[in-house]
C-alpha cells in the first residue's frame, strides 16, 4: 500500500528547509527581488544545494547524488511552495534532472546534483506530460530556433533542448540568447531561448526524456501547490483571529468560519493526493494515474486558497506590500504549469477508461 505519511527523516528534512527559508526568503525580500534584475535568489539556492545537498536528491549515489526519492523532494517542494521561494528547484533539481536520468549523461547529472550548475528543460512551462512541444532545427551539427515560456532559463547554466531530429541536446546557456519575458508569476520567471547556430551535445532520445521529466514535474508540482495552499490557509486563519471589525475578531463570523473549514477540507485532500503522486513516482507503480489525479485536483485548491486569502484580507490583500499576491500569482501560474486540470482530467479519462461521449 502507498505510504501517505511522512517519515521522521522527512519531517526533519522539512524542519531544516523551513529554517533555511525563514532566513533567506522572507516575504519583503522576495517582493523586493521580483522587481530587481536578479529575480532568482541564488544565495538561497546555494544554501539549499551546497549546504544541504538537496539538488541531488533524485540523483543515485553512484552518480554523485543523494540517492533519495520523490518523497523527500516533495517535502522540499512543500516548503518552497510555502515560501514562494524564487529558486529553480522544480525546474533544475526535478525536471532537468529527470530528463538527464532518462539519458546517458552522468557528468551533467552529477553537476546538476551538486547544484553548482543549474539546468532547464527548454520546453514551455504549460506543456503537460505527453503533450506536443516545440522543437528547434538541427542542421549540420548546429541548433536553430526560438523557444518561449522556458521557466528559470535566466538562471540556467545549461539548457536541455529538444530538436527536430528527435534528439535532446545539452546547450551551454552562454551559446544561447536568453531573454526574460514579463511573467505573471514573478517568482518563477520565464524567458525565451534563441538558438542561432548554437553547438549542442546529443544526450539521447528527446521524447522519452521529456515525457519522464514532465511527468515528474507535474506530479511533484502538486506538493508545491499543497505547500502554497497550506500557507495561505494558515496565514488567513491567523489574520482573521487578529483582525477586529464590529468590535470582534472577524474570524468569529460564522460566514467566514464555514468557508475556512471548507477550505481546510480541500487542503487536507490535496495533501493526500500530492503524497500519493510523490510515492507513486518513487515506486513507479500507478504513477500515471496518481499524477493525473493530483494535477486534476491541485490547481483548483491552490488557486481557491490564494483567492480566499486575498478576499479575506480584503483591502490590505490588494496591496503590493502584502505577500498574498505572490501566492495568488504563483497559484494561478501553477494551474497552467505542466498542463491544466482539464488536460489532466482528459488524460485520466483514457487511463481509467472513462471516455468522453
Amino acid at each position: 500500500m502507498t505510504d501517505l505519511l511522512y517519515s521522521e527523516e522527512e519531517e526533519a528534512l522539512r524542519a531544516a528547509v523551513r529554517d533555511l527559508l525563514a532566513d533567506h526568503c522572507d516575504a519583503p525580500g522576495v517582493i523586493a527581488r521580483t522587481e530587481s534584475d536578479t529575480p532568482h535568489d541564488l544565495a538561497a539556492w546555494k544554501a539549499l544545494t551546497d549546504g544541504m545537498g538537496l539538488a541531488g536528491l533524485l540523483v543515485p549515489e553512484d552518480k554523485g547524488g543523494q540517492g533519495a526519492t520523490h518523497r523527500e523532494v516533495a517535502v522540499v517542494l512543500e516548503e518552497l511552495g510555502r515560501a514562494v521561494a524564487p529558486v529553480p528547484y522544480l525546474t533544475s533539481a526535478v525536471v532537468a534532472t529527470e530528463a538527464l536520468l532518462a539519458c546517458d549523461a552522468d557528468d551533467l547529472l552529477a553537476e546538476l546534483g551538486t547544484g553548482r550548475k543549474i539546468g532547464a528543460l527548454a520546453v514551455a512551462l504549460n506543456i503537460a506530460p505527453g503533450g506536443a512541444y516545440k522543437v528547434v532545427r538541427h542542421e549540420n551539427g548546429a541548433l536553430h530556433g526560438e523557444l518561449t515560456a522556458i521557466a528559470d532559463a535566466q538562471a540556467a547554466d545549461v539548457l536541455l533542448v529538444p530538436a527536430d531530429d528527435g534528439g535532446l541536446y545539452a546547450v551551454d546557456a552562454s551559446a544561447a540568447t536568453v531573454t526574460p519575458q514579463i511573467s505573471f508569476d514573478l517568482t518563477r520567471p520565464l524567458a525565451t531561448v534563441m538558438l542561432d547556430g548554437a553547438q549542442g551535445r546529443l544526450l539521447g532520445d528527446a521524447e522519452a526524456a521529456v515525457h519522464r521529466a514532465l511527468r515528474a514535474g507535474a506530479g511533484l508540482l502538486a506538493s508545491e501547490q499543497f505547500g502554497l495552499a497550506e500557507w495561505t490557509l494558515t496565514e488567513t486563519v491567523r489574520y482573521l483571529k487578529e483582525r477586529k471589525q464590529f468590535n470582534r475578531p472577524v474570524g468569529g463570523f460564522q460566514a467566514l468560519k464555514h468557508r475556512l473549514a471548507q477550505l481546510w477540507l480541500e487542503v487536507v485532500n490535496l495533501r493526500a493526493a500530492a503524497r500519493n503522486a510523490a510515492d507513486a513516482l518513487a515506486t513507479g507503480e500507478d504513477a500515471d494515474v496518481a499524477v493525473a489525479v493530483a494535477q486534476a485536483y491541485a490547481a483548483s485548491v491552490a488557486v481557491h486558497a490564494a483567492e480566499e486569502a486575498l478576499q479575506l484580507h480584503a483591502g490590505i490583500g490588494m496591496t503590493w506590500e502584502h505577500p498574498v499576491h505572490l501566492y495568488l500569482k504563483r497559484a494561478k501560474s501553477d494551474s497552467i504549469a505542466y498542463g491544466t486540470a482539464g488536460v489532466h482530467r482528459a488524460r485520466l479519462a483514457e487511463l481509467v477508461d472513462l471516455q468522453a461521449p
Binding site: 514573478l186 463570523f253 478576499q311 504549469a337 488536460v343
Partner: protein
C-alpha cells in the same frame, strides 16, 4: 412633466447651438449641463429637468449619434456615482451650485476618504478626528485605499466629531479640499503593479464649516446615501449582450480555435449563461425602477458582477495557456482612470479581485441581503450603545 419628445427637442436645440465638431469639449459639456440634459432626473438649474431617470437614455442616444463628447464617467466614477447624489440630497443650495457643474463636466474629479486602516467593513469605527475651531474644523487622521486621490480636486470625507457617543452618532460628513497643504497623498501600489489607490494623511487640515454636508453628528446617515449609491453605481450599468467581462473571453474563444478544449467549453458556456442572466436581472431591475416598483435585486447586482468578473477572467487566463503565464506590464503607474477591461487577461484577473472588496465586501453585502431582504436576524452586536472612545481597539 418633461417627456421624450420634449427631451429630443431640447437635445436638437443644444446640438444646433453648439455643433460638437466645432465646439470645445468642456464648452459643449457646460452647455449640455445648463440645458438640463446632463442628468435629466436632477432639478432644473442643476443639470436636469426633473424628468424620469429612464429618459436619460433618449438624450444619450441622440447625442452619441451626433458625435457629441461625453463626460467620461470612468474618470470621475466617485464624483458622479457617489458624491453627486449625496450633495444633491444633503447639500445646501450654495453647495449644489458650487460643486455639481464642474463635477459633472469632469473639470473637478472627486475621491472618497472613508476607509481607514482600522475601519474597513466596520466603517463607523473610524478614528479620524475633526475638532471645531471657530468657523473651521481641524481634521487629523489617516485614510487608506483611496482610489484616485492623486487626481482629485475634492473628496467626500467622514470624520469623528464626538467620541463620547456611540460610534454611529459621532460622525460628521465634510467636503475636503485635496489641494490643502495638510493633505498628503501617498501612492499605495497594488497587486496589478499600479498605484490606483493611495494612503492619505490629514494633518491639521482646516475645513470651513460651510463645507459640512448635513448636520453635525449626522454623518453616518449621510454616508448611507453615498454607500447605497455606490452599490447602484457599481452594479447598475446597462449592458448589451456580452457587454461585460464575458465579451473579451468570448472573442478570444471565437478567434482562437487552437486554444479550445472540451473542459473549458463547458465552463465558458456556464459563465456565458450566468452573465446573460445577470444582465437580464439588471435590466429587469431598471424596468422595475421606471415603473416605480423598486426591487431589492440591486443589492445583489454588485455581488453577481464581482463573482462573474473574477471567474471569467480566471478562465481566460487558463484558456490562453502559454500566454496566460505572461503579464502585459508591471510598471508602477498612477493611472488616471480605472480600466477594468482594457488590458490583458492577467490584469483583468488581478484587478477584478478588488470588485468583491471595494465599495463593501461581498461578505458584508451578503449579510445585508440576508438581514434586509430576507429579514433574517442580525448577528448580536456588542458595540451599539458604547461610547466610541470606550470601544476596544
Amino acid at each position: 412633466m418633461t417627456d421624450a419628445a420634449e427631451l429630443q427637442r431640447r437635445t436638437a436645440e443644444l446640438l444646433a447651438a453648439h455643433p460638437p465638431a466645432s465646439t470645445d469639449r468642456f464648452d459643449f459639456l457646460k452647455a449640455r449641463f445648463d440645458a438640463g440634459l446632463a442628468w435629466v432626473h436632477y432639478p432644473e438649474g442643476l443639470g436636469g429637468l426633473n424628468a424620469p431617470r429612464s429618459l436619460q437614455a433618449v438624450v444619450d442616444a441622440e447625442l452619441e449619434a451626433a458625435g457629441a463628447p461625453d463626460n467620461d464617467p470612468r474618470r470621475n466614477g466617485i464624483g458622479l456615482g457617489m458624491a453627486a447624489p449625496t450633495i444633491l440630497k444633503y447639500g445646501t443650495e450654495e453647495q449644489k451650485q458650487r460643486y455639481l457643474r464642474p463635477l459633472w463636466v469632469g473639470e473637478e474629479v472627486w475621491c472618497q476618504l472613508f476607509s481607514e486602516p482600522g475601519a474597513g467593513s466596520d466603517l463607523a469605527a473610524l478614528g479620524t478626528r475633526a475638532v471645531r475651531e471657530g468657523d473651521d474644523w481641524v481634521v487629523n487622521g489617516q485614510k487608506v485605499w483611496t482610489s484616485g486621490a492623486h487626481n482629485s480636486r475634492w473628496a467626500i470625507l467622514i470624520a469623528r466629531t464626538d467620541p463620547d457617543v456611540p460610534k454611529h452618532a459621532g460622525i460628521t460628513y465634510f467636503i475636503c479640499d485635496m489641494t490643502d497643504p495638510g493633505v498628503d497623498v501617498r501612492p499605495l501600489r497594488q497587486i496589478t503593479g499600479e498605484a490606483e489607490f493611495n494612503e492619505v494623511f490629514l494633518t491639521d487640515v482646516r475645513i470651513p464649516d460651510s463645507r459640512r454636508l448635513g448636520a453635525i453628528g449626522d454623518g453616518w446617515r449621510v454616508a448611507q446615501t453615498t454607500l447605497n449609491n455606490e452599490r447602484v453605481a457599481i452594479g447598475g450599468m446597462r449592458l448589451p449582450r456580452e457587454g461585460g467581462m464575458i465579451g473579451p473571453v468570448s472573442k478570444t474563444w471565437r478567434e482562437r480555435p487552437e486554444l479550445r478544449t472540451q473542459d473549458l467549453h463547458q465552463r465558458l458556456l456556464k459563465l456565458w449563461v450566468d452573465s446573460e442572466v445577470a444582465r437580464l436581472t439588471a435590466e429587469r431591475l431598471r424596468q422595475q425602477l421606471v415603473a416605480g416598483q423598486p426591487g431589492p435585486e440591486g443589492a445583489g447586482m454588485k455581488l453577481a458582477f464581482a463573482r462573474l468578473n473574477q471567474e471569467i477572467s480566471g478562465l481566460e487566463v487558463e484558456l490562453r495557456g502559454e500566454e496566460g503565464l505572461l503579464y502585459d506590464d508591471w510598471t508602477m503607474r498612477r493611472p488616471e482612470l480605472v480600466d477594468f477591461t482594457g488590458r490583458d487577461a492577467g490584469y483583468r484577473y488581478l484587478r477584478s479581485k478588488g470588485n468583491s472588496i471595494e465599495g463593501g465586501t461581498s461578505e458584508v453585502l451578503l449579510n445585508i441581503v440576508a438581514e434586509r431582504v430576507l429579514g433574517l436576524p442580525a448577528e448580536p452586536r456588542t458595540d451599539k450603545d458604547v461610547a466610541w472612545k470606550d470601544l476596544a481597539r
